[in-house]
Symmetry: C2
Subunit: 417 residues, 2 copies
Amino acid sequence: MLAEIITIGDEILIGQIVDTNSAWMAKALNQAGIKVKQITSVSDDESHILDALALTENRADLILMTGGLGPTKDDITKFTLAKYFGMGMRNDPAVLKHVTEIFSKNGRPMLEANIRQADVPDGCTVVPNLNGTAPCMWFERNGKIFVSMPGVPFEMMYLMDEEIIPRIKQRFELPFIYHKTILTAGLGESFLAQRIEDIEDSLPETIKLAYLPKLGQVRLRLSSSGKDEQQLQQNVNLYANLITDRLGAYVVSDDDIDLEKVMLNIMDQKGLTLSAAESCTGGYLSHLITRHPGCSSVFAGGAVVYSYELKESVLGVKPQTLEAYGAVSEETVKEMALGALKHFKTDYSVAVSGIAGPGGETPGKPVGTVWVAVANRNRVVAKLHHFSNKRAQNIERSAAAALTMIVNLLKEDEELV
Amino acid sequence: MLAEIITIGDEILIGQIVDTNSAWMAKALNQAGIKVKQITSVSDDESHILDALALTENRADLILMTGGLGPTKDDITKFTLAKYFGMGMRNDPAVLKHVTEIFSKNGRPMLEANIRQADVPDGCTVVPNLNGTAPCMWFERNGKIFVSMPGVPFEMMYLMDEEIIPRIKQRFELPFIYHKTILTAGLGESFLAQRIEDIEDSLPETIKLAYLPKLGQVRLRLSSSGKDEQQLQQNVNLYANLITDRLGAYVVSDDDIDLEKVMLNIMDQKGLTLSAAESCTGGYLSHLITRHPGCSSVFAGGAVVYSYELKESVLGVKPQTLEAYGAVSEETVKEMALGALKHFKTDYSVAVSGIAGPGGETPGKPVGTVWVAVANRNRVVAKLHHFSNKRAQNIERSAAAALTMIVNLLKEDEELV
């Protein structure tokens, strides 16, 4: 079964928002065994939406749309769908009841525009949208399915998880799609490819290998699809194991998880705790860690120390150190890490201090200069990085470098035991 | 001039990555006066790329592609482009020299795959990619321009800013596109629409109004394009002012900036400083603030206090308070805010404590229960929120609620003066 996603909204095409919906939907469809052929983003324009629908209908069996279902005049998706299918509009009593309840629960009066939210094309099936006022609409024609969902992410996610995917699974016998992802760090894409060239060349036609580089990490993804789930996994895992064995220490994880989750898993298993002292990453490193449920067994917390004063008062960095070497120095970042270890009473600590930019450079320390330190009871290690001249990248790369450093030290410490 | 963007890569269609490139490119194009008609994401598959190119060529004058230019076997974009244009391949000496220099600078040996990175279709113009080894390729046919760029975001961004957009501006006389965005908070989409209905109805055909709701905020965006920049801005701003006047206190900013930037601007102007004490937001609130250059004049830093111990030791929250009321309570969040104010010595402080989920709920405090407090020398105010059952949303909505609360209190305090 082939699916396509159409996201509708001028805000996507002028770059005002990043379309995160389609990635989320693609992942959910993939896990359900439905291959996504294409993702198309179009404007809130009738003829453009009609054209996109016609082209998509030719290529796919399942067409999922988001966006353009709000109560205001720029929202034209449902009228356009009515036109596409040659349908009139009807006011759906169940939707009207639901919308009315939401408004009365919030103690707000209903406006004409809210009543009109219950208008739907008369040939569609309404799928209940418990989390919002815009109805989700399901159309069928010539064995093909079209679903229009609101663009509000959590409304769409709930609908996909609870309504759309279950309905499709009930109707169609779907193949299994299996991906196995190996997370590596420390070796570039072409060097990895050279090391596993013979394994890659021996891959059967049914297994595809992709290299996904990102900030000093490369993910190797093996993919295959078929009817026999067990056979599929066995085949893919066979090659995944060959690759993992070949790459040895460059493999950080044989799961498709984030670097910080690799770290959390190792530390959780060993009963170790962590704290963070962040300067240039400004809370981003802590955020990466704390977005994972259950992180609190490992992560106690930390400090975001933007000012000299906080570096001194919260972490106990010596004023003389700051004065003599500056905030972005090996000496300071080590004191930050040791201060976090002491004040936050954890087994490990990590500290980051750098010049994220665009301003702030000093002689010999251009924008992108970043020191990372990791400390535990036995040692404190610091490493200097030179990243880019872009703030957002420097923040992201600093956090990735910090996480990589912790993971590597955890592995080294394990070998020492 | 109409542009389209094609992003190439299986990783997009299986939802492994969010395609942030196309939003960035769309914004850059838009600012240059180039309208983006459609964004299409396709797989690393020859026939699919060829089909997408043919359809896109029919609709647009400028076709920008990213992805599929790496050194490994799954990267097929340049060979597919050669096929599309009926070209052979040649090894480009300038690209080879550049790649060789990168490798020798990093002290790494060149592999055959790296030498092959200098292979390009023989009818294209190579655009120098200073930040990576994959060449950027520029094709022309029947007055239409095709550009293929690497998918690595900072390589693409540099190429767009420094090479592609300037070259296009030099060749074509582009119209001005003007957007004016008004950020509102506290009133839903349909209520806003009702309040400004007569203004909306009086808009000339050339000005488009869109409602962009997000987490308790709604952005109203007026858009228009034309040749006379001044006339354009005048027309749009006239209606923007009408709307801003009508909506009064619901308008947070008449600029298209993030909520935290609104806060930073107000505080910077008044010479006020801020610190943060984060529990459930886990560093995300600090990250939102610190991703903005120049934030350090306002933001001193803060603490991420996941554990009870850190709430006590870093912020001075009383153990009795935590024991009697729990970490997620009005009493605790107020003590957190006051502790931050005292220990971090700032004019304002903000504290967030809540249950992000999925675990951690207690009787009477379901997942999504979040307390936010803001303190200054004169007062401490706390507010209870009930968000969703999804961790990522709760973190994001908590941060937005905290920022909104600071902005509102800043405005109130201003009126009190």
